[in-house]
Symmetry: C2
Subunit: 405 residues, 2 copies
């Protein structure tokens, strides 16, 4: 017997038949003797439709009213799943964010969870009742509905699991786990049995869309054991856990890539103190995130070339911000390039093993792929390369680190 | 300057353009110096879709979860209308049933309103802010969402108007007022400028679908002045008010008809005390409403023929209930007929004027229409006739009482 939180995404509750299938799965867990709380997303497509309504009325909308509108999708699926469970003879009731309550701050549209009240549902779970929580939504101290940002239902599920001290938080989705790389590119990618929070975080922030970064962070901070698995198959998924739970750590656990980057190079920037602040200050003021940064040593010692990356969607705005500060910064030319991809090698094992980065550079060199920018963290090496080499690079690295199935 | 409640039905908020049009109309009322609270229905079709989801999952559903699901439709339109108002520069915020709160009993799916808290919105209306209330929904004492039954948004609006002591409650719909009869049948029907609550109640219960019976009852009991008008035209509608506000009362204000009736006749029922209870008791137990009842005097004095009407949708069930009690009741034969229509002449003026019923019977006789059952109330005479005569009867009566335009 365990206490479980099970979260079902939009494709898992996309229509009535799938909601019934989810109910059958939850009922199975209850019958097996577990205490179960469920978190649901809106039916696939519904949130987009609601966001579309809001945009059509008011492009610069009041985020409080946006939240009222878009939170309705999860309300529907929570009620429907409770009904489907009852239909199977399983006691169940729906809980909306304001009913539990799941308290958040006032940052409408991207609110952060401040607390989850679980006394009542713990009592009911002990009697065999399933709590079906509408994901993605909460309530402020002054009684207004909030939403947690896209994909926020994952975060709802992890927060609930933490508050319930659940044995596991199962994230049911349309893929059956976390892979060593994107199987659409690396045909020999294989499903990982286990992965650490840290690796999952890097994977998520690098474009593996299986889990929301915030949900993984919260799970890591609260020690919630996560499992990513398919709601359409009866297979174990991938466990996301602390390093101590991983017996035999591989050096590298995955190869990720992100096409969301764009590169900006400033040529012959004056090499003086404060120059970085004069560039990145205005970008930060414009809420543009800068990811990789590299500054070349200048031969003359008077000017330098500076390259950095921003999100592709921010490229135009970033160029305009920098151009606007040209006199203040002082550079000879600005070049931008959106045809780049960031490829990353991820693994907690690299902390204790030298040569991981070296193998990456050598592998890419052997394929004739030029590295434009490099950045590293404790458990990751990322390189920026020409986008046309994406598949070639991912496959070559996947093989080079012994990840091929 | 007045304090107004404006209610917009599903067709008035059916899409984004219509919601914008509603916002423009509300903004006009605010600009004219009025304090305005708005009540909205769900977008046309949405409630049916949500009810369909519930039925598909669970025919005998938990009404508490049904309410969670179907209340979401009004949540969406309340948020969207608040946004559309803000877009026009009008301060506005949405209020859900549980936020106001609008308190109800526990009769989920058809809850009755127990109170409406308005202190906060009164403060905000005084500052020019429009309160946009999600109609149709409330909250129980233990914090669960309720709905008020189909068309419940009218009732929400009237209850809010009563609590606010509003000068008027305007019900915007897809017709432009209350007519002397159904214009699709009586081409010369004309829009009434004013009608009494009592007449409107009879009209509503007799099939004129302009206003919910409960909303009219509540308006009458609380003295809320109602106006029924079109959201697609800029014309005054029909005022529903107390008799004291009607200066020159016409004898008859309208001719209504209902095709929803079916007739059951029991032949040669034993004419003994308690016989009516033995028939209508079982029907009441089966929640079948009986409308008109007529018992013929039996020539022999030992048996009698008894005729009554039930809703067409209940006919089959009613026949089965009665047949099941045949031994206890004791009748020779049961005949049922669904091809009947109830035609009614309505007017508070008939209280003080004799001859209204007589004119009805004579008019129908002149057209060769046989009257099967008669029932009367203080302000109404209804007859059951063969359905094929519906149009003929309505038109003839409309002319006979001088209602033709």
């Amino acid at each position: 017997m365990a206490r479980l939180v099970q979260k079902f995404g939009g494709t898992s509750v996309a229509d009535i038949d799938r909601i019934k299938a989810v109910a059958a799965r939850v009922a199975g867990s209850v019958t097996a003797g577990n205490e179960v709380a469920v978190v649901v997303s809106a039916m696939a497509g519904v949130t987009n439709q609601l966001v579309g309504y809001v945009s059509a009325i008011s492009p610069l909308h009041d985020a409080r009213e946006y939240d009222v509108v878009v939170a309705s999708g999860e309300q529907v699926t929570a009620g429907l799943l409770a009904l489907a469970l009852q239909e199977l003879g399983v006691a169940a009731r729906s809980w909306l964010g304001w009913q539990l309550p799941l308290s958040t701050d006032n940052a409408h549209g991207r609110a952060r969870i401040q607390g989850v009240e679980t006394d009542e549902i713990v009592r009911r779970m002990a009697r065999g009742e399933v709590a079906v929580l509408a994901g993605f939504q909460g309530i402020t101290a002054d009684g207004r509905i909030t939403t947690l940002g896209r994909g926020g239902s994952d975060t709802s599920a992890v927060a609930l699991a933490a508050a319930l001290a659940a044995d596991r938080c199962d994230i049911y989705t349309d893929v059956d786990g976390v892979y060593t790389s994107d199987p659409r590119i690396a045909a020999r990618a294989r499903k990982l049995e286990r992965i650490t929070y840290e690796e999952m975080l890097e994977m998520a922030s690098l474009g593996a869309k299986v889990l929301q970064t915030r949900a993984v962070e919260l799970a890591m901070n609260c020690g919630v054991r996560l499992q990513v698995l398919s709601s359409f198959a009866d297979l174990p998924g991938t466990l996301v856990v602390g390093e101590d739970e991983i017996v035999e750590q591989e050096l590298v656990s995955g190869i990720a890539y992100s096409r969301d980057e764009a590169k900006i190079t400033l040529l012959r920037v004056a090499d003086r103190p404060g120059i970085a602040a004069s560039i990145f200050g205005p970008l930060a003021d414009a809420s543009i995130n800068v990811d990789m940064i590299v500054q070349n040593v200048s031969p003359s010692g008077e000017t330098t070339d500076l390259t950095f990356t921003v999100g592709k969607a921010d490229l135009e705005r970033a160029v305009s911000v920098i151009s606007g500060c040209r006199d203040n910064i002082g550079y000879a030319d600005l070049r931008s390039d959106a045809n780049v991809v960031k490829v990353s090698v991820i693994g907690v094992g690299m902390r204790s093993h030298a040569g991981i980065a070296q193998r990456m550079f050598r592998t890419l060199a052997e394929k004739g792929i030029n590295i434009q920018v490099i950045s590293t963290s404790e458990i990751k090496v990322s390189v920026l390369i020409d986008e046309v080499y994406t598949e070639l690079a991912v496959r070559a690295l996947h093989a080079a680190y012994g990840l091929d199935a």
